[in-house]
Symmetry: C2
Subunit: 677 residues, 2 copies
């Protein structure tokens, strides 16, 4: 059948969608297995230990197939008698292929679905993946959680984090998992479900999608180019709004410690030429000290003791071009006034005995605002409107969202095993609705680390979570690059990261050099924002070092100068779903090397960025697709291929396309004279 | 039906064997699942990474049952049509329950079998288990391998061993796995198969036995007491011979470095009162140095350069009461003369291209003598007879046996995935036959770390493998206790360990105190033998320390004095399958506490030993079953219960039964005066 130029054909025991085999079986192999499993889920401070005992995994290799003008329907069984699963394949009005799955025996809670694959095929997406961009060769449990410290079982950092706090993570742990990917067969595959999944891309002949539950539907679209494919994907998932212009004005300075310190520091940095668009004061609502480090108090209202006069200062600063960004998350500490109010109204998720479920966030306990309760959702939304928006905040970190325990009782009776992965989207929507109802969409920027299907629609900006303050591939500066590329392949084109990283644990301490390399990279992303980290006093802070201030002055200036170019990228993301940070193959489809590069990116179509992610480097190996490239700092021309280029501090390898219409702008940067660097 | 006083009854959808439910099903649950899996086995220097991709796991929940006078036969299918598995249950002539399994579809290579369990039930055995004695609460992959360094993923030693050499091991890694266990339902269960298995004892309602292949048969017996049960088990598996009397004469001194050094050291120690029965010179055939430490040369013949005159000395020493024990293993280094001879005759396991398969043993490569080739087996057996027995050795370490790769081509075409676990038994048989054909059974002692079904028959003495030279529970002195107890529950009653431990890696160095605690424990085992360890120069050696020599003098004297008592234990092991080191519950069945004690043991029925396995201890907590006990060192009487007793160096907590017929002997030890300790 055909719809909107798309074709669905069943022949040779295979469903072809626009000539791509999607489901295929033979006498000795099937595409569906159903079974029963018993999971064991343990959460410790947002880190999960998830085990499954699979009692059965039954091949569904008896097919009854019904073909109509509307759909091709598979009635599947293991014995030719008792129907266990129905998969209805059809084209929707846009021509998308939709697989509708209907369980015929509700006692089965596991499904494995195989999609045909080729050995050469590559897969990207699945939300924010920090260790691998091309997902082929590994399997990816998709479950929102703490990202983990170290994220590599062979590193001492991860070992220490695991043995001390179960907090080490692994290559797949992420705040933002999503069952959405694109294939180099030029299709996307998106699953409409929030169940726990584990997508296995290891087999050369098939992708195996494991679901802990029967998903409602699975959607596919194809396109001739990856750019078109992302356009179609974001048509499905939603488009992010454009960023407010003020974000282009410079750095969002992460700083804590109160009104005076904030103002004095801004003053000092501005005087030294640092371009600052705003301050991000996560401790606006008070602080606490834990063994992990400096934490916020988690009662979402201005703390006048720490920030005296902020209610008037916030507006004065705005007049001076300094926006104020605060912090919030969807939990309330049990010793707070807001907690008491929410408790009184029954707004928290419960234990089975009806008491409030308290979650350990690391030496303090919090209630989980139950977003399945419309009254709780509205109350929290109003809290955002009153305490943040009306107060004058132009943005905030909308932190967390990954900690929904799987044994809570929710207001609407829904299954927390399913709600868990959805929670970040509910949390995003709460922020989104508050901003929208305040009429501030496109003016306010809240940024989230947690994500889910729906984030595309409800979250205007991601950040890559809590990197370690080091050079590790899996958890340091490098990891932010595949993170940006993979969310881009999941329909989220706006992301950034904490300049200098965040997590200082187990001997990792931020160096000046790390801060510098992170700052120079961030100038070529959607947003520039710094963070003091979890242990501010022990780690490098830019304001303590005049040389680094000069460095920051240069790169905030570069960031600001790139505004006209960045505006076009942000608009392309909004309109076409083209991410601001793009993998090389997106623009160079015929370049086979480009598909395996995960530590370079295109900043829009005209600029190629190759961040230096190792210390003490003075030159750096880069790969350039076949084009005419101008090295941003020297003006030297390069052509496609592998090159080693000079990359001292201050000269992150960046190239622009010679034919770019922004060449004049880029040349201005080349010609700019900065002190020291 | 009944046979030999045993009953087999099928009622209520359950097979009862002597009133114990063995197989049971209901409309919604089965006892058998069949499936297909694809394993991935990677070996690195005897450490294995084994993964399985389970494509299907199908409940066999359609039963056709045929009952005759001879057997109750289950014909199992998943759909009531195609028979996939037949399980025939019958009593053999001894009254044993035998489950005979016949696969009806050879494309299935995985089987999961469930045995009914109760929540309180405990399980012991499965070969030599070093981390857990009671196996309930964990699953145990059974695959012979290096034991691992550290054997606990949460320790820094294991982390370092894993990340540097994949050598860290885990709680279940062992040289001697065996699919044989006893249940506190007072049955044993033994599987006649060498396939990879993973026995899962975590579920409160069933034990799940996973087989990578369909085993030929599974055998059960029951008894009224555990003593009787072990008698029945060893009737099935074989009885170990008694130890030669000379082993009671004192220490087998592990020493290296040549004729002169050996003699001088024996001289020094004997002069100081150390009782020595023999020397164990593993470098009798030459040495090599690797990054791991001092290794042997692996060419199994006397090296006259290092041991000049040994051919005559060996007899002179014997006349002086010093037996000579050497070393051998079933591999040959590719640079040796014996290798060349074996290669010429085609005695090695092959690659698929017909070339000799070389195994990396740590900076040197060896061929694997192919014991499935009768000519190779005989050649190696003759080599043992000529080079070891005829040469005058009274024993040797018959090391290794765990390294059969799974991708070799064997002479008889058999599957190395199955032969792998059998290899230690073939290696034991090669030694056994050599000794038997030389007419030396019961006179020669070879000791092995690797084991399998068959070791009971072919191996007269185990040792607990290569402990780390430390106090860790999973890989130090403590681990030798559950090791001894679990092999005892597998039908092997004679074992010992390297006094002082062996593996000095990743910062672990043997201390004097560790040597002392290990020595005092070893006095109350079957055999006393020391080892220099893998890095002799860096670790404590007793001959360097006069104080420790005095200590050793005391405990070799105690060991020697215990000879009459030990003789009875060795005889009980030979005759009744009662291990020399016994768990407390074996003699105190009604003591519920006894079943969970894994760091104490009964040395025979009359002596209770509670080794001190932590450093700097001066007293120690002990549990005594309800009896009248005399503390060996003080003569003080104790009764059942928990006690804290003095346990300074030299006074390992040991108690004997007041009513023991060996009380006079024990009292002599109490009254003995030793210097220093």
């Amino acid at each position: 059948m055909e719809k909107n130029g798309n074709s669905l054909i069943f022949k040779n025991q295979t469903i072809f969608y626009n000539d791509r085999p999607i489901l295929s079986y033979a006498s000795d192999k099937t595409f569906a297995f159903i079974g029963r499993g018993t999971e064991q889920v343990k959460m410790y401070r947002g880190n999960f230990d998830i085990q499954d005992y699979v009692e059965s995994r039954v091949p569904l290799n008896h097919f009854e197939i019904a073909e109509t003008n509307e759909a091709i329907t598979f009635n599947l069984s293991s014995n030719g008698q008792t129907q266990l699963l129905q998969i209805r394949t059809e084209l929707d009005k846009f021509g998308r292929l939709v697989l509708k799955l209907i369980s015929k025996d509700k006692t089965y809670n596991r499904l494995w679905l195989r999609l045909p694959a080729t050995a050469q095929e590559k897969i990207y997406g699945c939300g924010e993946q920090l260790s691998y961009f091309n997902l082929r060769g590994n399997h990816f449990p998709l479950w929102t959680s703490e990202p983990g410290i170290g994220r590599n079982k062979s590193t001492l950092t991860t070992f220490k984090a695991d043995t001390q706090d179960n907090a080490g993570g692994d290559y797949y742990t992420t705040n933002f998992p999503e069952p959405t990917f694109i294939s180099t067969q030029k299709y996307y595959c998106h699953t409409n479900s929030f169940v726990y999944v584990d997508f296995d891309f290891r087999n050369p002949e098939f992708h195996e999608l494991q679901y802990w539950g029967i998903p409602e539907s699975i959607v596919f679209e194809t396109a001739d180019t990856y750019n078109q494919l992302l356009g179609k994907l974001t048509n499905l998932l939603g488009h992010q709004p454009i960023l407010p212009n003020w974000t282009d004005e410079g750095l969002l300075l992460g700083i804590q410690g109160g009104t005076q310190r904030t103002y004095d520091t801004v003053d000092k940095l501005r005087a030294a030429g640092v371009k600052i668009a705003g301050v991000f004061c996560q401790d606006w609502e008070g602080t606490r000290q834990t063994s992990f480090g400096k934490r916020n108090f988690w009662n979402w209202e201005w703390n006048p003791a720490l920030y005296p006069g902020l209610d008037t200062k916030i507006h004065e600063w705005k007049d001076e071009g300094i926006r104020f960004l605060s912090y919030i998350n969807p939990y309330l500490v049990d010793t707070s006034a807001l907690y008491a109010a929410a408790a009184k109204n029954g707004y928290f998720a419960k234990n089975s005995d009806g008491s409030i479920y308290l979650v350990d966030f690391g030496e303090f306990n919090c209630g989980v605002v139950d977003f399945t309760n419309p009254a709780a959702f509205d109350w929290f939304k109003e809290l955002i409107k009153t305490n943040l928006i009306d107060f004058g905040c132009d943005g905030w970190m909308a932190d967390f969202g990954e900690y929904l325990p799987t044994d809570v009782v929710l207001f609407d009776g829904s299954d927390p095993m399913i709600r868990h992965n959805e929670w970040p989207a509910l949390w995003a929507k709460c922020n989104h609705d508050a901003v929208a109802e305040a009429g501030k969409t496109g003016q306010i920027v809240y940024f989230m680390r947690a994500g889910a299907t729906g984030s595309q629609r409800y979250c205007p900006m991601l950040w890559a979570g809590d990197q370690s303050v080091n050079w590790s591939l899996d958890d340091g500066i490098a990891s932010t690059i595949p993170a940006a590329l993979s969310v881009g392949m999941t329909g989220m084109g706006l992301t950034h990261s904490d300049i200098g990283g965040y997590t200082s644990m187990h001997g990792n301490v931020r160096s000046k050099e790390l801060f510098m390399r992170w700052a120079e990279m961030s100038a070529f992303t959607s947003l520039m924002r710094s963070h003091e980290g979890n242990r501010p006093a022990e780690n490098f802070q830019v304001w303590d070092d005049d040389d680094a201030i000069q460095y920051l002055a240069k790169f905030t200036d570069v960031f600001q100068r790139l505004a006209p170019y960045r505006r076009t990228l942000v608009a392309e993301n909004n309109e076409y779903g083209l991410p601001v940070q793009r993998p090389l193959f997106l623009e160079y489809e015929n370049d086979s090397v480009a598909y395996d590069i995960q530590y370079e990116y295109l900043f829009g179509s005209d600029m190629l960025v190759v961040p230096v992610y190792q210390e003490t480097q003075t030159d750096w190996d880069v790969y350039l697709p076949d084009d005419e490239w101008i090295h941003l700092w020297s003006g030297q021309e390069f052509h496609g291929g592998h090159h080693t280029v000079a990359a001292p501090l201050g000269e992150i390898p960046v190239f622009y396309r010679k034919k770019s219409e922004f060449r004049t702008l880029f040349t201005e940067i080349t010609n700019q004279k900065y002190s020291n660097y």
